[in-house]
């Protein structure tokens, strides 16, 4: 239990860092750490496939995409960065307070136990390939559509 709370504390701190820091580079690093912590949580919940997927995509691919965008856009001037820092302090001071209050409130809630089915439905690969093969088709279509979308949106940016 203590380990779980430590992992969750790091997860929430990394998410707060991703949201509240001024520099976009630090935001992306916070997001990558959040993904790494989320994958640890998934691993502790007996979902190793999802954890590996989350780690490789959430802490690898998505930060790389964000870093490439940050590299293509211009950095703020020091005056603009100072103004942005003041504005962020004005907007985000309440967020840690809200997070702590909600955590304390949710810790008091006791949900009634749900009826639990007797056995697991099967292995993940069996479910993916035999029961939910339409999901795979949808994933392929979404990936192809996304790739075409990105190519059409980005190709003129390089010129």
């Amino acid at each position: 239990m203590a380990t779980d709370i430590l992992i969750l504390g790091m997860l929430i701190l990394a998410a707060l860092a991703a949201v509240m820091t001024t520099r976009l580079l630090r935001c992306v690093i916070g997001l990558a750490v959040t993904s790494a912590m989320a994958s640890v949580v998934l691993f502790r919940l007996d979902a190793p496939l999802a954890a590996v997927f989350e780690l490789s995509v959430g802490a690898g691919l998505i930060p790389a995409i964000f870093l490439s965008v940050i590299g293509m856009t211009e950095r703020l001037t020091p005056e603009a960065e100072l103004a942005r820092r003041r504005e962020k302090l004005r907007i985000y001071w309440a967020l840690p307070v809200i997070v702590v209050l909600v955590a304390v409130a949710l810790a008091q809630v006791h949900l009634p136990g749900l009826p639990v089915p007797p056995a697991e439905a099967g292995e993940t690969r069996t479910i993916m390939w035999n029961l939910r093969h339409l999901d795979l088709l949808g994933q392929i279509l979404v990936l192809v559509g996304g790739a075409f979308g990105v190519v059409s949106l980005v190709k003129e940016f390089d010129r």
Partner: protein
């Protein structure tokens, strides 16, 4: 409520606050990613509670793939907007005003 459930809800609040509070389009996408991570965690927590972890893992893999495509297309749109307006500040992009 389990500790992991509380963490997922807190992650959702953080993502929502980021989405509402910022005008920077890149930060908005970061907020969407945080919301997706929260949904991922809640799916696995529900699957674990119902002893249906394999089904939850299959759904989570689908969610992660959709998340990547959403981020990629959103980033492409942001780059195109930056090309036209030289800014990623939503308030400065007047063409988006209705």
């Amino acid at each position: 409520m389990t500790a992991f459930g509380i963490g997922a809800v807190l992650l959702m609040i953080t993502g929502l606050y980021s989405l509402i509070g910022t005008r920077n389009l890149i930060r908005s996408v970061i907020g969407v990613v945080l919301l997706t991570k929260s949904a991922t965690l809640l799916l696995v927590i529900a699957g674990h509670a119902a002893r249906q972890t394999p089904l939850a893992q299959a759904l989570v893999i689908t969610v992660i793939i959709v998340e990547v495509v959403v981020v990629s297309v959103a980033v492409g749109i942001i780059l195109r907007l930056y090309q036209h307006h030289q800014s990623v500040d939503a308030a400065l992009i007047r063409n988006l005003k209705g």
